[in-house]
């Protein structure tokens, strides 16, 4: 009877499968960007430099928690997120360190931390999409105008648990003040065609079907839909993209970004990876593969993105502000009953 050997053998098999390989040159990455949207880029980096990238993906907040509990012994060298708020939180928790580096200094001022503890890698805009049949572009103007009674029962937007909505409201708090921002949120809730459900793609589909006439979404979702399967293309074909606030501060921008972990054990390799992620090569990949906006001037956007109009006026608010006002935004959402 050797039953007791089974668990031992299983554990042994598992430990041999996992854990960072003992390659001499490596860098360890905690990424809130999902595997499918980061691995191809990391593979390119590895083949160019010979540095192996070990990857764990997960939700940004849980990665932060993991970094905190692992403390100074954490194996992670880089934290990569898909929003500014969590990088702000990582810095506030003392998890990051400054990088003074010429290549990274090319990231525009408003898209990196004031102490160079983190840097944006790509941007995306939160825009309005509208039904080509039922809405004229001239009816649209600003985010603020979405509370206009003419949009009653015509707006689709996802849950306020989503970070992109929280960031949008945070930007309105900074620009217009708390009470105006709360009025805005209340007004949008009053104009919603249905209680929030589904992600940004679902909002586009809802406009296409006629549940609502306009929706607020991140640009890259639209880009991906336009090149996807026939059903999504069909939905995407019935809506157009509108960049709000072009006459004033510009359309709201959020980022994906990364920072160097304090006490990183592969600091040099980590900086090489960060440099690579803002290189022309990587910037083109973001633009083409996921329809995001490059942060380095002169990199072309994808054909689909270009067709919506590029360049457009972007809100130059320092994205760090979005992180600072995130909790206030969530409280407003709770108060006005934005699910």
């Amino acid at each position: 009877m050797n039953h007791w050997k089974i668990p031992l053998a299983l554990i042994f098999a598992l430990t041999s499968l996992s854990g960072p390989a003992l390659a001499s040159e490596e860098v360890n990455l905690y990424s809130a960007r999902k595997e499918a949207l980061i691995k191809p880029l990391l593979d390119k980096f590895s083949s160019q430099t010979g540095i192996k990238v070990n990857l764990v993906t997960g939700k940004a907040k849980t990665l932060l928690k993991r970094l905190q509990s692992e403390g100074r012994n954490t194996p992670a060298d880089i934290l990569l997120t898909t929003d500014a708020g969590n990088l702000h939180a990582a810095k506030a928790a003392g998890l990051l360190q400054a990088v003074d580096n010429k290549v990274l200094a090319s990231v525009p001022q408003n898209l990196r931390d004031s102490d160079n503890q983190w840097f944006a890698l790509s941007t995306r805009s939160r825009v309005i999409v509208y039904s080509k049949d039922r809405v004229k572009a001239s009816d649209l103007s600003t985010y603020e105008d979405l509370t206009n009674p003419k949009w009653k029962k015509r707006i689709c937007i996802r849950s306020s648990s989503n970070i992109y909505n929280q960031s949008l409201l945070a930007s309105l708090i900074v620009h217009n003040g708390m009470s105006k921002a709360e009025e805005w949120a209340k007004g949008v809730v009053a104009n919603m065609a249905q209680p929030p459900k589904g992600n940004d793609r679902a909002q586009v589909k809802a406009v296409a079907v006629g549940v609502c006439d306009i929706a607020i979404i991140n640009t890259y979702y639209m880009g991906v839909m336009q090149e996807k399967d026939a059903a999504q293309q069909k939905a995407a074909a019935q809506v157009s993209v509108f960049f709000p606030n072009q006459e004033s501060r510009g359309a709201h921008i959020n980022i994906s970004g990364a920072g160097l972990i304090k006490g990183a054990k592969h600091k040099e390799n980590a900086i090489k990876l960060l440099e690579y992620l803002v290189s022309d090569d990587a910037q083109k990949w973001y633009a083409q593969a996921n329809h995001e906006y490059p942060i380095i001037a002169g990199i072309p956007v994808s054909k689909i993105v270009n067709a919506w109009g590029y360049p457009f006026k972007q809100d130059n608010l320092n994205v760090d502000e979005l992180g600072k006002h995130n909790a206030e935004a969530v409280k407003i959402f709770d108060r006005v009953g934005w699910k």
């Binding site: 854990g19 595997e35 928690k65 194996p75 459900k197 079907v209 909790a327 969530v330």
Partner: protein, 562 residues
């Protein structure tokens, strides 16, 4: 059958006796329970932090919603999963009708379907822009708003989804209980003039109640812990509230305090379940078993029974698998590469290791508490079993914090005394992930083992002793044969649960280590449903074999069956 003989012996020798030395077992049990309860205690520890103004904010705004939605969800799933589970278990245990043999095992299949995957799949099919509503609009030349269609992303939708994949717990336990019942009790009720309905409601159902409540409490604990489905459907429950408070309001203390309230829900459930099981002493009223002759239903009624069993199987398994298969055909070639096999292997090994590892403490605790339970040890056991109702992410954090502290403590101590840094020993390894699974699914193992052990009366040990058996021989020749079914059931349910597990895996896994569930979720949460289907189907396929094994175990567990 051995068990039948053993049962007979037990009635003749009614002396209390145990093979174990009380102090050693009890102490070991207390230690094991304490270790498993550590993550839960870590979270509960946050309750003693001063509450922030976030708490006031939650109470003023969303808390009432969280409570009422969670309660409604539980009530709905209790009604849905309960009625499906009990009906199908009764029909397949008592009657013969077309397809019965097939339903006996296939009704368990939805157990292999993760709740978030069935939610994604149904949304893909039935949402407003999905193919079904599209077809309705095109065929009848209607526009949105001109026809009625149930909204899938809603509280009702969440109740339906969870009921469809959780009813097998009730079915499993109710069926085992119905099969366990002596036909004599039923025959007696019939001779006393009860019709089949009255026999069911006044004899069989009350006799099976403890098992049904156990099955329901498992289903409801899963419901409370569910995050994927309710989040996707936009239903604000305790789980979504915990994450919103933690991620959005950035207040981990208030989030942990919400988890604390969630745990009181769970405690009530557990106490109910215990209380119900306390009545179980009437369970084995007689030891004379006879095979229950399956009553042949007349053709028309038989087909009604067939339909009643087919519906949950169809909606809980066949339909979603059909949709997933159709998607998989479109994306199969893109999605299956060499890394895909690694994913499947990882999932399989993890689930296997976790199932075996979880069984060990369950055995220690069951034996430790068998005859010498103190109030403290009973409390510790209940506490250690709470993981099943707590969202995986919360468990993961409860595991991260103490292990991080332990690792860094050892490292600092070694540096100070020997100038050797040990770094992180546990954190970021498979070990910590397996431990989290153990905490999360412990109650499944424990309940199953305890109920198996409950069948072995202390007097049987005594009888064996008088026949000259030593402790180990008793274990091997008496306990093992009687418990085999329960142990296998515990192994299989934990195996399937770990295979489906997502949130704890996501937080705790080591570098470059993914599972099928992680792959399926990452793609599906991006609404790349078609791309995620291959991994989803793989989860279901890997689970099917153990699920079929499980149904065979029950089929053979029937007393009086050759």
């Amino acid at each position: 059958m051995q068990s039948a003989i053993a049962n007979n012996t037990s009635t003749t020798l009614g002396v209390k006796f145990s093979i174990s030395r009380p102090s050693g077992w009890t102490l070991a049990a207390a230690c094991v329970a304490l270790v498993i309860a550590t993550p839960i205690l870590t979270i509960l520890g946050f309750l003693f932090y001063p509450s922030t103004d976030t708490w006031q904010h939650l109470a003023d705004t969303v808390l009432a919603d969280y409570i009422s939605n969670s309660l409604l969800l539980m009530l709905g799933v209790a009604a849905g999963a309960g009625s499906i589970g009990i009906c199908t278990a009764w029909l397949t245990s008592m009657y013969s009708f077309p397809g019965r043999q097939l339903f006996v095992w296939s009704l368990l299949l939805p157990l292999a379907m993760p709740a978030y995957i069935i939610a994604f799949t149904y949304t893909g099919m039935f949402e407003v822009a999905g193919p079904v509503q599209e077809w309705i609009r095109e065929t009848f030349n209607l526009r949105y708003g001109e026809y009625w269609f149930p909204e899938i992303r809603s509280l009702g939708g969440a109740i339906t989804m969870l009921s469809l994949v959780l009813y097998p717990y009730v079915y499993l336990l109710a069926r085992a209980a119905f099969l366990d019942q002596s036909i004599c009790a039923l025959e007696a009720s019939r001779t006393l003039g009860c019709g089949p309905w009255r026999s069911f409601f006044f004899v069989a159902l009350p006799l099976a109640r403890p098992a049904i409540v156990t099955g329901l409490s498992l289903a409801l604990m899963e419901t409370l812990a569910d995050y994927g489905t309710v989040q996707y459907f936009g239903v604000s429950t305790f789980t979504t509230g915990i994450f919103r408070t933690w991620f959005g309001l950035d207040d981990s203390v208030a989030a942990a305090q919400l988890s604390g309230i969630l745990m009181t829900f769970v405690f009530v459930l557990i106490i109910l379940e215990r209380w119900s099981r306390r009545q179980a002493r009437f369970h084995h009223a007689t030891n004379r078993y006879r095979t229950i002759p399956n009553i042949k239903l007349p053709p028309l009624v038989g087909w009604v029974a067939t339909t009643a069993c087919l519906l949950p199987l169809f909606f809980g398994f066949i339909l979603p698998i059909g949709q997933l298969t159709q998607w998989a055909f479109l994306t199969f070639s893109e999605m299956v590469d060499s890394s895909f096999y690694t994913l499947a292997l990882n999932s399989f090994l993890l689930a296997g290791a976790a199932a075996v590892l979880t069984l060990v403490p369950a055995l220690i605790l069951s034996y430790g508490n068998r005859n010498h339970a103190t109030p403290l040890s009973r409390f510790l056991v209940r506490l250690s079993g709470m993981g099943y109702a707590i969202p995986g992410t919360v468990i993961a954090i409860g595991v991260l914090i103490p292990f991080g502290a332990l690792d860094n403590g050892i490292d600092a101590w070694m540096l100070e005394h020997f100038d050797i840094g040990t770094g992180l020993i546990f954190s970021g390894t498979i070990f910590i992930l397996l431990f989290a699974y153990m905490v999360r699914f412990f109650t499944v193992s424990l309940n199953t083992v305890e109920s198996g052990l409950g069948k072995i009366r202390p007097s049987m040990d005594e009888a064996a002793k008088t026949m000259g058996y030593g402790g180990l021989e008793i274990l091997r020749h008496i306990h093992l044969p009687i418990m085999k079914g329960s142990l296998l059931t515990a192994l299989i349910i934990v195996f399937v649960d770990v295979l489906k597990e997502l949130p704890a895996t996501l937080v705790l896994r080591p570098f470059n280590f993914n599972t099928l569930a992680v792959r399926a979720f990452e793609l599906a949460s991006d609404e790349r449903l078609a791309d995620s289907s291959t991994a989803a189907i793989a989860i279901v396929l890997v689970s099917i074999i153990p699920v079929i094994l499980l149904s065979r175990t029950i089929a053979h567990s029937r007393p009086g069956q050759p």
